[in-house]
């Protein structure tokens, strides 16, 4: 784990789970695997706090445990999963995607499961129904069946999956034969055969509207009664978690489609979307390209509101194949032409475009020209760079050295003589896409860390003011609830002076900006991470 990743993970854990969990998590990240006692010793926290923190991390899938180095007889070791922690940055995007695909119900389901880490189907359904009912006008309530159907659709399209069963129950079976590894690999949820099987639950009813505290007594009684009911829903022990991989595939597809639409036109985007949709189930997660689809199939599968003629479709496909971005490739001629979407190449091109755009925005368009040149031509000498880029020597030199000092460009020495004499050595400038992408990814992590810290700083600076405004809002709310007069309300509102109001407004504006920036840097992070993972997978 790099220093920036560790820092970012620490900040995210602190934001969502508090200081104690952050302490535990950071120590686990730094030290790799730890036993409970070692962890308690390192963090200097009370043992029960450490236990609780580990529970929280395990619940959210960010930490796994297994028999340690001494085998099943020794103490259990805990192993943290950094990627899961970094996914917390992307939670709003997951929830928003669920909303756009499955409506408000889907959105709330995914939100609840993300917040709780793992949930059973019945508890999710009840919670979501209650929340939806709360937002509906008086008298209406949400039926459980609708929520169940939304849940089922999410499971069928693999956005939700069952949590894998206890690792120890399996390892104690296999451990007797061979020596188990030092830390048991967490069982891949997909290796469980019932991963996407919905349990049969007997759940019917409506969402309950949350009453105000006057009905607390009645609620308490109802709550006690419900407690004894809930254990008979039939799906005990079957917990569901969000399938992040599936969401990532969806985001990747979205990125490809929007790139095609931007570069060519809307219709090409639709064609690529159709192709991706058709090959959703047949393509594995790490495939370099989708299954070959014939032009006939694509024509039949196009959405009905796109009335393009068959020859026009062929022209579009030819255009897509000839495009230098290489999103679509031709894999044969049967059936009117067999076409594939080149997933890995598309990701590589998108990453390359990101790198070029970063250089352009930071160093200007001429530096970007040099950068693009080096990406294409691989190795160039100083003089060649000046000639090809058509930039005067002095400025080209300066730009190259700036890029070199930022590590975006590397220098490769090729000696002519064995003694590496500088006067008799070729010095070539080069850009390697993969290491540069990694470098930029670390910069992105650092950026998000900085954004979070700045936001915390701003909040801390204005803490007094924020607390005051919160208290006044609470007073206003309670006054309104008990039906106060307008004069009293204005009197309370005036407790915040105008300059304070202005300060609050500008604070809110800054925090909004910082939050938006975090979300958008995360989009770049996703793209670069996908590219790096795809090149590693294909190795």
């Amino acid at each position: 784990m790099t220093a920036q990743e560790v820092r970012l993970c620490g900040l995210l854990l602190q934001e969502h789970f508090g200081d104690v969990v952050e302490n535990v998590g950071t120590h686990l990240i730094r030290n790799g695997v730890l036993t409970l006692r070692a962890l308690a010793h390192e963090t200097k926290l009370a043992l029960d706090l450490v236990k609780k923190s580990l529970c929280v991390l395990v619940q959210h899938g960010m930490c796994t445990f297994g028999p340690g180095r001494r085998g099943p007889a020794g103490p259990v070791e805990y192993h943290i999963n950094c990627e899961h922690i970094l996914h917390m940055l992307r939670y709003p995007r997951y929830i928003y995607t669920a909303k756009s695909l499955y409506g408000d119900t889907g959105e709330l389901i995914v939100e609840e499961i993300l917040q709780r880490g793992q949930m059973t189907m019945s508890s999710t359904v009840k919670t979501v129904a209650d929340r939806l009912t709360h937002n509906m006008p008086e008298g209406q309530s949400m039926d459980y069946n609708e929520v169940v159907s939304a849940f089922s659709r999410l499971v069928e399209t693999h956005f939700l999956q069952r949590c894998p069963p206890m690792a120890s129950a399996e390892s104690s079976g296999t451990g007797s034969a061979e020596t188990p590894p030092a830390v048991t690999q967490p069982s891949n949820p997909e290796s469980h055969p019932d991963c996407y099987k919905l349990p049969y639950i007997s759940l019917s009813g409506h969402g309950k509207r949350r009453r105000s505290s006057e009905d607390g007594e009645a609620d308490q009684r109802a709550a006690k009664k419900a407690k004894t009911d809930s254990s008979e829903c039939g799906d005990e022990g079957i917990h569901w978690q969000v399938n992040f991989e599936r969401f990532h595939l969806h985001f990747r597809d979205q990125a490809i489609i929007s790139a095609v639409s931007c570069k060519l036109d809307q219709t090409s985007g639709e064609i690529v979307r159709t192709m991706l949709r058709m090959s959703e189930v047949t393509t594995s997660a790490n495939a370099a390209f989708t299954q070959a689809l014939s032009a006939n199939e694509i024509f039949r599968a196009l959405p009905s509101n796109y009335n393009i003629a068959r020859p026009i479709l062929d022209q579009y496909l030819t255009l897509l194949v000839d495009d230098p971005m290489e999103f679509v490739g031709k894999a044969g001629d049967s059936g009117g032409g067999m076409f594939v979407v080149n997933l890995h190449r598309a990701l590589a091109n998108l990453a390359r475009a990101t790198l070029e755009s970063v250089v352009q925005e930071r160093f200007g368009s001429r530096s970007a020209r040099i950068f693009r040149l080096l990406l294409r031509k691989r190795h160039l000498e100083q003089k060649q760079v000046e000639d090809f880029a058509m930039i005067p020597a002095k400025e080209a030199k300066e730009m190259l050295y700036t890029l070199l000092s930022e590590n975006l460009v590397q220098l490769q020495e090729i000696p002519k003589t064995p003694d590496h004499a500088p006067s008799r050595t070729f010095y070539l400038y080069t850009v390697n896409q993969l290491p540069t992408a990694r470098l930029l990814l670390q910069h992105c992590y650092k950026t998000v860390g900085n954004l979070i810290e700045r936001r915390l700083y701003e909040t801390k600076e204005n803490k007094r003011l924020l607390e005051k405004s919160q208290r006044i809002e609470a007073i206003l709310a309670s006054l309104q609830a008990t039906g106060a007069e307008a004069t009293q309300l204005t009197e309370v509102e005036e407790m915040i002076t105008a300059p304070e109001r202005q300060q609050l407004e500008s604070l809110r504006h800054h925090i909004n900006k910082l939050d938006s920036s975090e979300n958008q840097v995360d989009e770049t992070i996703f793209l670069l991470e996908s590219y790096i993972n795809s090149t590693q997978a294909s190795r």
């Binding site: 969502h16 789970f17 508090g18 104690v20 969990v21 409970l36 006692r37 009370a46 043992l47 609780k52 529970c55 395990v58 619940q59 445990f65 028999p67 099943p72 007889a73 020794g74 259990v76 939670y91 709003p92 928003y96 939100e111 917040q115 709780r116 880490g117 949930m119 508890s123 009840k126 206890m166 690792a167 120890s168 129950a169 104690s172 079976g173 007797s176 949350r210 505290s213 607390g216 308490q220 709550a223 809930s230 005990e236 022990g237 917990h239 925005e361 160093f363 100083q382 002095k394 030199k397 500088p422 010095y427 609470a474 925090i511 909004n512 900006k513 939050d515 938006s516 979300n519 958008q520």
Partner: protein, 194 residues
């Protein structure tokens, strides 16, 4: 050292091969670079739109809500203060979930390499996940939170008991534990509530 005392900018190699001339060298650095250097190219504007606003609102809401969930573990507060009058109502209004949950350590699973015990263990776990017993006291509990907590408790219990997998037959001789390790094997362990 080559060139020291003769001329400051004397190099051991022929600079022209790199395309440099004596006159074109940048000035030597005096001190560290400024903390906030001037940037020539201002960054572009943020994407603004409905989607971005919605995601930002989601993020902020989630942040606020996570602080109230029991996942947000706080340090042990000092025992001096009497519970303030307002605490009861603050908790209700902010819908704070129960902060005092403790993992159920009464039943622990012992791992062993013998087959019979494995099967028994598996059955134990399944059974434990089946009956959920929550043993905390709460003041005002809403139905929703109860269900969630039970889900949590069951899962945490199930997860958690796996941690105390010590086969005491093997390790009593050479692995000495402190008093507070392997607490799962003690019964009726009273966790102090804070």
């Amino acid at each position: 050292m080559a060139g020291k005392g003769r001329g400051v900018a004397a190099f051991s190699f022929n600079i022209e091969s790199l395309g440099l001339t004596r006159g074109s060298m940048p000035e030597t650095q005096r001190g560290p670079a400024p903390l906030f250097p001037q940037i020539e190219y201002k960054p572009g504007p943020l994407k603004a739109g409905e989607d971005e606003d919605y995601m930002r609102a989601l993020k902020q809401e989630m942040r606020g809500r996570m602080k109230d969930l029991p996942f947000n573990i706080k340090h042990h507060a000092g025992k001096g203060d009497v519970e303030r009058y307002k605490e009861k109502y603050t908790r209700e209004i902010k819908k704070l979930e129960d902060e005092d949950w403790t993992p159920d350590l009464k039943k622990s699973v012992k791992i062993s390499t013998k087959d019979k015990e494995e099967v028994l263990n598996k059955l134990d776990e399944l059974e434990k996940k089946g009956d959920v017993k929550s043993d905390e006291e709460d003041e005002v509990k809403k139905e929703k939170k109860e269900d969630d907590e039970e889900g949590e408790e069951a899962e945490i219990e199930g997860d958690y008991d796996e941690e105390f997998e010590e086969d005491n037959d093997y390790i009593a001789s050479y692995f000495e534990d402190g008093d507070d390790f392997g607490g799962g094997s003690d019964d009726n362990m009273d966790e102090a509530t804070y």
